[in-house]
Symmetry: C2
Subunit: 258 residues, 2 copies
DNA sequence: TTTGGGGGCTTGGTCAGACCATTGACTGGG
DNA sequence: CCCAGTCAATGGTCTGACCAAGCCCCCAAA
């Protein structure tokens, strides 16, 4: 009885957190599944005995996590419907935390290399003709020498996303796409600052084609290695040469607005 | 002029989304950094010309993503402070989406194998004596044969988390830990249903020690391979033998309520 | 002069009630 | 049979109020 009593602080749960817990409980136990409708906000208010504001804040959190899709009006598709759309939320999440410099750029590159290596291996093992066609379409578009940097970057993103999709592992694919999206604007900035864009584009095209060939051939090992080398090589040789600041990525001159 | 005009739907932004966008803009441009305080809710209300409910819903989203830490009262630590606590949010996110069956268990195993392989390689390359000590502590605790399944599982989780931390890549570490946490209760269930727990524990202990040795020796290649084999092997040989349902993880008999 | 306590202000948390906008279903007239 | 107008359901927004937690500061007492 005389030990230094571990007075852990009582979890000062806010009302909306309790509401959130109730709803999540229903999801975790399987009572609520994708496509099911939540009771209307006003009904939840009386069911749970809280204010509508509390209910709405809880719903907002679920929505931000891509687990809820609200829709106004009447009819079968109206109301708050349980959904499973993790990509958007995950992308948003990573963008935010990268901006908070909590995830240094080098770490993100490493993560991309890891995830996309895995994606490529899976893709090589089980890509369907449709998946391969999706990749080829992006390759073809990137082969057009008149393509703007922006479009090229978009196609590049799409190409890598297609590989991730082809792997068939939704978790890895979503993480891959989210990470790629999170660095999208940074890469675009780098593209713009390159001395010789054409040489870089040529190199990327060639590497992309090699990756596609390996996947189409079903060579997992080679596909994985090529993608990893593609990502690491590009960032090591080019990005670090342009981006001098290792951490920050913001305002060089302008202070705040105010 | 006669092409099929791509009438993309106007982004019906809700008020709180606009508020969110304004705040995120400040974060992305670097005007708001970790530790900075947001203006008080009531002040944001007049600055942005919206209701307090709208402001609060936006803040709730940021908080759910681990980018904000609200605190009542006055003083330096009060108000809404920009933070960077991604782990909790990410774990919550994955748990939710795994429950929504959007991420099949096999996919999660694959993701763990990928992420932890990378973590182990990084850890072997740059683990400090402190990191190694943290791993050894968990190993020692797991060596105690009287340890309950629950405690063993916790130590197991901690051991893998230590490896991820030791790798020094926060993004990969956070994803690794979140994924491991997300399957924590599932693994515990499997442990309970095993025929011969002691044999399994012995095997896990041996594999853990081998992994630790490789990391301590700085052998990245071997550490990565061992971890990947550890995760894949365990799940392949044991989990699939226990879990028969490939997708669902919930109520075998009860339909829905109501 | 120092110290202790208490009032008051700031800030997030909650609530009640009202109104608006969107959407689909119902219904009556052509 | 079809169309348009109406209506109810539902999420979105706003207003204004009160509560609870903390810190600051001033004043009284030692």
């Amino acid at each position: 009885m005389s030990e230094p009593i571990a007075w852990e602080p009582v979890p000062r749960s806010r009302t909306f957190e309790l509401v959130l817990a109730r709803i999540e409980e229903q999801i975790l136990t399987g009572n609520l599944r994708v496509g099911d409708r939540l009771p209307p906000e006003r009904e939840l208010v009386e069911l749970l005995g809280v204010s509508r504001a509390a209910v709405r804040e809880a719903l907002r959190v679920l929505e931000a996590q891509g687990a809820l899709r609200p829709r106004v009006g009447t009819g079968p598709a109206s109301g708050s419907v349980i959904a499973a759309m993790p990509s958007a939320g995950l992308t948003q999440f990573l963008r935010l935390h990268m901006a908070l410099a909590h995830f240094p750029f080098a770490d993100v590159v490493e993560a991309r290399a890891t995830l996309e290596r895995s994606s490529a291996r899976l893709a090589a093992a089980q890509a369907t003709p449709e998946h391969l066609a999706a990749m080829r379409e992006q390759l073809d578009r990137m082969d057009d020498p008149r393509l703007s940097l922006e479009k090229f970057n978009d196609c590049d993103t799409e190409f890598h996303a297609s590989i991730a999709e082809a792997g068939g592992n939704r978790l890895i694919a979503d993480m891959t796409i989210a990470v790629r999206n999170a660095v999208r604007h940074t890469l675009l900035k780098v593209f713009h600052e390159l001395d010789d864009w054409e040489a870089t584009a040529a190199r990327l095209r060639s590497e992309h084609h090699a990756i596609y060939d390996a996947i189409a051939a079903g060579d997992s090992e080679r596909a994985g290695e090529l993608v990893e080398a593609h990502i690491r090589g590009f960032h090591h040789d080019l990005v670090y040469a342009v981006l001098d600041e290792p951490e920050r990525g913001a305002e060089p001159e302008s202070g705040t607005g105010s």
